[in-house]
Subunit: 148 residues, 2 copies
DNA sequence: CTTGACATTCAAGCGTACTTGAAGGTCTAG
DNA sequence: CTAGACCTTCAAGTACGCTTGAATGTCAAG
């Protein structure tokens, strides 16, 4: 299998596969005489694992940890358990933060809905945005969702 | 007021204030003879607004939009309402995604807890990670939370 | 023999919001 | 007079996971 096939079978771009190899997530495959990479079937499984790990929010560095342990011949159960637990905590924290933010945004919208733009104070910028208490105290990130 | 004061009163680093000026969020202040920036009190309000807008998740580009309208002499109500509404939808979507992810992570942990590492299949990498249905279908981002 | 789809490497770019570093100037207190 | 706390500009670095571009090579089909 050459790179295009292994990539598309895994839902990746060839460039991503090369990138993973560069990061040490994927072992260097044998080459044809012309220098083309030729992958064994098992590469599909490995890429599948990488995708699944990313899908639960592990970074590529973390995935590398897991693969490193596995490649060393040991079961990575312990590492995986730790990483998943940490990630779980992160996600729960983030949900709490986003819920608060959601509440704030709803409050801002409600406030905006009661106001007439004609009454807008031209000496400020927009009093409706800084109007909610918790907005003044914290913030939550953006960042969209990578597809798998 | 020089840059250090305006920055610390706004909870920012001086470099951030210069950066905002560079992006056009903050008008160029007058200078002392030595070239030091000297800010009027109203700069504090403007920086406060920027922080509040960021706290609800608006990007600096979006903040610039709002400030641009305001600086053009118009009330930015319409722009603000639109941006907030969009942002609100994003946040709600993200909460849904994170909730699903949280559920998956809990499932992965539960599954891991029932297994003995001795039974780990050495031919795979770690079957526990790709074990959850929705993990195979989608992913949710990481990205931590900027403090305000 | 040519076209076109594929492959290679390497460096650089993207987005976001900044920070850091280098090299230097200014100002106040002791 | 000097230390040190502050200011200036400009370019480059950070995180993260890739993609893109340039320059080039390979290979099968028509």
């Amino acid at each position: 299998m050459r790179i295009r096939e292994v990539a598309s079978r895994s839902g990746l771009a060839p460039s991503a596969v090369r990138y993973y190899e560069q990061l040490g997530l994927l072992p260097e495959p044998p080459r044809t005489e012309a220098g083309y990479r030729v992958y064994p079937d098992v590469a599909i499984d490995r890429l599948g694992f990488i995708r699944a790990a990313q899908a639960v929010g592990l970074t590529l560095a973390e995935v590398r940890q897991v693969l490193g342990v596995r490649d060393a011949g040991e079961p990575p159960c312990r590492v995986v358990t730790d990483l998943i637990q940490r990630r779980h905590a992160e996600v729960r924290t983030k949900i709490v933060e986003l819920r608060r933010l959601e509440r704030d945004l709803a409050a801002v919208r409600a406030r905006a809905a009661t106001l007439n733009p004609r009454d807008c104070d031209p000496s400020g910028i927009c009093h409706v945005i800084p109007s909610v208490a918790s907005v003044r105290a914290r913030a939550v990130g953006r960042k969209e969702v990578p597809d798998v």
